[in-house]
């Protein structure tokens, strides 16, 4: 059986670039912490995405130059950011009204596990001694129109992250629409996982072997 570590799939940047292709012009987007943040580097020409950060800013701009940061202008990951022309500040209840009320077009999140019915686990290992922390993830998956997951296809130890059903505590049920991994782009459909696109040089059989649930091919 193929070892995950032997495969040369998309880089994190390539995954983010591939995902960015699927975001329409003018979309209101919330990006989770980590790989999702890379999306801002790959906005296709002629398009403009408006970034929402749940701590109260719409129209978030890039990081400021080193040393220019304002500790009162940060994103949800608590990093210094800037505000673009046309930005707006608002309080937390208004910010989550945008999320819960279905006003955001897209939430891009990392994952620990995604199940074939779209269940997502990305907030807790469920270990008894872990200090639980959930932030806004449950609100995002419950409220935003589309949820894209961007993640390595397997864990560092080679365990599939795409599974029949999640063993970690859920962030939300039936919430993921599409997964961008280093090996493939995969839709969550009523029939289960369906491959949309394979990373060049990676074949369907390999991806299936590294996935914990049945995959449907793209052209079926």
């Amino acid at each position: 059986m193929t070892q995950y570590t032997d495969i040369s799939g998309w880089s994190r940047e390539q995954m983010a670039q591939r995902l960015a292709q699927d975001i329409p012009d003018g979309a209101y987007v919330n990006l989770g912490i980590g790989i999702p943040e890379l999306v801002t580097r790959f906005v296709p020409e002629g398009r403009e995405f408006i970034y929402h950060t749940e701590n109260g800013l719409l129209g978030m701009g890039p990081s400021p130059a080193e040393g220019d940061g304002d500790p009162e202008l940060i994103n949800a990951g608590k990093r210094h950011v800037t505000a673009n022309d046309g930005a707006a500040f608002f309080h937390h209840a208004d910010s989550f009204a945008m999320i819960r009320g279905g006003h955001l077009d897209l939430s891009v999140l990392g994952a620990m596990q995604v199940a074939q019915d779209g269940d997502l686990a990305n907030w807790s290992t469920g270990k008894p001694n872990a200090i639980p922390a959930v932030g806004g993830a449950m609100d995002l998956v419950a409220g935003v129109k589309q949820v894209f997951v961007i993640t390595q296809h397997c864990t560092k130890s080679g365990e599939p992250k795409l599974v029949e059903s999640c063993t970690f505590p859920l962030t939300g049920q039936n919430v993921v629409d599409r997964i961008y991994s280093d090996l493939a782009v995969i839709d969550v459909t009523p029939e289960g996982f369906r491959v949309v696109e394979l990373c060049p040089g990676v074949d369907f059989k390999t991806v299936q072997e590294l996935t914990g649930a049945p995959l449907l091919p793209a052209n079926q």
């Binding site: 012009d25 209101y28 408006i50 022309d85 046309g86 500040f89 009204a97 409220g143």
Partner: protein
Amino acid sequence: MNDKRVLNAARAVADITDGSSIMVGGFGEAGSPIELIHALIDQGATDLTVISNNAGSGEVGLAALLKARRVSKVICSFPKSINSTVFPELYEEGFTELELVPQGTLAERIRAGGAGVPAFYTPTAVGTLLAEGKEIREFNGRRYLLEMGLTADFSLIKGHEADSHGNVIYNKTARNFAPIMAMAANTTIVQARKVVEPGVIDPEVVITPGIFVDRVVEVSDPAHESQLIAAGVTYQ
């Protein structure tokens, strides 16, 4: 690009279909988007449900839309006003249905609709006629009514200044229902005295962030109901 400007009021309301639900901003004449309403009259959509605090005055704006027999139902808190004869006639005739909602419950239902809250409990109207048919539930020894979030197909609102991203600021008490209606509609249409480039409005003072707005149209010198009525105008 993220440019929500529309050429004129007619284009802004062009896709409103028969049977639509429409939130209309304003408290009395303050904040009433008269030019958008008049464009809607010209456009012809009918069998509308209008959600608005009042039911219009004279025969301009909202009252003119009612007078044109386009509104089958009004959801509001106060359908009576000085100079309001149109709604009473249609109501007595049985043409236009009325759902009367206490003003704060109306505001909170709209805000809930916009915030993805399907229902909430409120102390308002417990023990009154307006509680009839509604679930009552006790929390901490006090009784509350269950009220439902309210959404609409369209919102027509009047801003003071807007930018092309849809950020809006308002003028004084003309703000009233506009910010929450902007949140609660599938398509929110704003008329503003001035439409500016992004960056002109300070992000600290934006009242309605652009995410809640779909279309912005400049109406540089908007009419006021009272002035039209005083001038003897009727719109038809």
